[in-house]
């Protein structure tokens, strides 16, 4: 079973993240880039499926040159090879353009399954998986907390408000994963060394057959008009508990009409 895992490089949440005042897009120079956390769970799930059913795991990343760091990290977890979709024309693409571009890049690959995270930590739209299924015309098996493949049949548990749905489809399909699905492995020293030699193919927009009139900041259907630091919250009251902390908190809640 051949699996493509979509991996996004995002700014480390532990650092101060910024938008660039030039064009209101992410300021990638401001923070270190790391693998989007949920994508590590996607990689892990792909590796588990490979261990069970055989085949190959390919990493697909769309992002600027520095995304290679995240690609190497993904390979050091055990993926076999990678494709890096990189082109200045893609800069500033919105969520749907990203899904379109990824769908075109996937068109150059052979796969039975596409696995991705259910949400990125930077933009957090949570729609790339669904939009990708729409562009590819493939079954959407998103928000998966459990995945089982049996021949051509695939079954997942889809997280819902009330618990979960059990969903079935036929391969090929698009699966996005939620955090509880597994525990991502740490790369071993051996795998880290091996990863350095694994093939990473660069793909330009033209290579992928992407119509550059449909991608990038200038062609996006959405536009960020402005941004500003959130207004600071009015300083609150902090008291030390002298035996009546709960009563004082109740006074505050009463004043705000919650009690």
């Amino acid at each position: 079973m051949n699996i493509v895992v979509l991996v996004k490089q995002v700014p480390d949440t532990a650092t101060e993240r910024k938008l660039s005042s030039d064009d209101n897009t992410l300021d990638r120079a401001a923070s270190d880039g790391v693998i989007n956390e949920l994508d590590e769970y996607a990689i892990e799930e792909a590796l588990l499926l490979k261990e069970k059913h055989g085949g190959e795991v390919t990493i697909l990343t769309m992002g600027p040159d520095q995304a290679t760091d995240s690609i190497r990290k993904a390979l050091s977890m055990g993926a076999d090879k990678a494709v890096h979709l990189v082109d200045d024309a893609l800069h500033g693409s919105d969520a749907l353009q990203t899904a379109y571009a990824l769908s075109k890049a996937l068109g150059t690959l052979e796969f039975d399954l596409v696995v991705l995270g259910s949400e990125s930590t930077d933009a957090r739209t949570g729609i790339v998986g669904a939009a990708l299924a729409e562009y590819l015309g493939l079954p959407q098996l998103t928000l998966a907390g459990k995945v089982d493949v049996d021949g051509q049949a695939i079954r997942i548990q889809r997280a819902t408000d009330y618990g979960h749905d059990v969903v079935e489809a036929q391969l090929p399909a698009v699966v996005s994963v939620v955090e509880k699905i597994n525990e991502p492995r740490y790369p071993s020293f051996k795998l880290i060394m091996q990863a350095k030699k694994k093939p990473v193919a660069k793909l330009s927009a033209a290579d992928a057959g992407i119509d550059t009139a449909l991608v990038g900041l200038g062609n996006a259907a959405t536009e960020t008009v402005d941004f500003a630091p959130a207004p600071p919250r009015a300083a609150g009251t902090v008291i030390k508990d002298e035996g009546d902390g709960g009563v004082k908190a109740a006074d505050f809640l009463a004043e705000k009409k919650f009690v």
Partner: protein, 314 residues
């Protein structure tokens, strides 16, 4: 006035609060038309009209038998047929996906996790864990906008709603992922986390899987219970109650953090709460930077006293 489609969230025929918020936001832009999937549209019509819906488009429950795509096909079909000015959905994981697919079909842009919306459809976002506020708009097609629950206060504006049955021809792609079973977890009597007006969350400071100190305060306030990732990872509270970047995003009128340090990833899920109360024994805990009211102390004494005090004043 142009129609604004609002996808209704309902449980067993009962309209969720977020839908009344969306109808309120829709009235700024045009005339709200509710889109109802499943049975019970007639019974819910009065409630939807109370918040300004002039139409209720009712579609078959069959759409729920498949994942997301049929709902997107319905919304895209209606948006075209009615020349809608915009499509609004609640920013739940499922509805964001519906929004994404509908926007692809419409050749439109989509805005997610919107916390405010103007009459001209300029959307406000709170990003990077609440540190930055952005404004965005859709410049191509019918704007599809996913609005975060508890962001736009619901205000009634009584109208007359007319129910119209609608149907949509589902494509083969839309029925490719079939729901074969629904597993409902017991959720008890507490309100749902993302919808609740008040949320009381516990963190590592709770110290064990005995969350009664958190639950008792929540019940006194009629609140939902949340948890930090540290508490969830320790196995003290179930996964679906995690608040934060990789958990749920909540925006209640009141958020109470018990024994939570206030890490950036936790803030990402609660920073837009209107009022924040924190109890933490460490005066340096970053959660106090956000708190409107903070108590430096042991949650195991402060929280029970607060619970008792609330129950006394009822």
């Amino acid at each position: 006035m142009a129609e604004v489609l609002v996808l209704v969230d309902h449980v067993d025929g009962e309209v969720k609060k977020v839908t009344t918020e969306l109808l309120t936001a829709a009235r700024r832009v045009g005339e709200p038309s509710a889109v109802w999937i499943g049975d019970g549209a007639e019974a819910a019509q009065a409630r939807l009209a109370e918040f300004g819906a002039v139409k209720v488009y009712a579609a078959s429950a069959e759409l729920n038998d498949y994942v997301v795509a049929p709902k997107a096909e319905l919304l895209a079909h209606l948006a075209r047929e009615k020349s809608a000015a915009a499509v609004l959905v609640s920013a739940t994981p499922e509805n964001k996906e519906v929004a994404g697919r509908a926007a692809v079909k419409l050749g439109s842009g989509v805005l997610t996790d919107v916390v405010d919306l103007t009459a001209d459809l300029v959307a406000e976002h709170s990003v990077f864990g609440g540190a930055v506020v952005t404004h965005a708009r859709v410049r191509t097609g019918v704007p599809v906008v996913a609005v975060r629950p508890n962001s736009v206060p619901a205000e009634p504006a009584p109208a007359q709603a007319e129910v119209e049955q609608v149907s949509v021809e589902l494509s083969a792609a839309a029925t490719a992922a079939r729901v074969v079973e629904r597993v409902v977890q017991e959720k008890g009597a507490r309100p749902e986390l993302t919808e609740a007006a008040i949320v009381v969350s516990g963190g590592r400071g709770v110290g064990s899987d005995d969350f009664t100190v958190v639950e008792n305060l929540a019940d006194a306030l009629g609140a939902a219970v949340g948890a930090s990732r540290a508490a969830v990872d320790s196995g003290w509270y179930p996964n679906q109650f995690q608040v934060g970047q990789t958990g749920k995003t909540v925006s209640p009128n009141l958020y109470v953090a018990l024994g939570i340090s206030g890490a950036i990833q936790h803030r990402a899920g609660m920073q837009t709460s209107k009022n924040i109360v924190a109890v933490n024994k460490d005066p340096e805990a970053p959660i106090f930077e956000l708190a409107d009211f903070g108590v430096v102390g042991d949650l195991h004494t402060v929280a029970p006293q607060l619970t008792e005090e609330i129950n006394k004043r009822r």
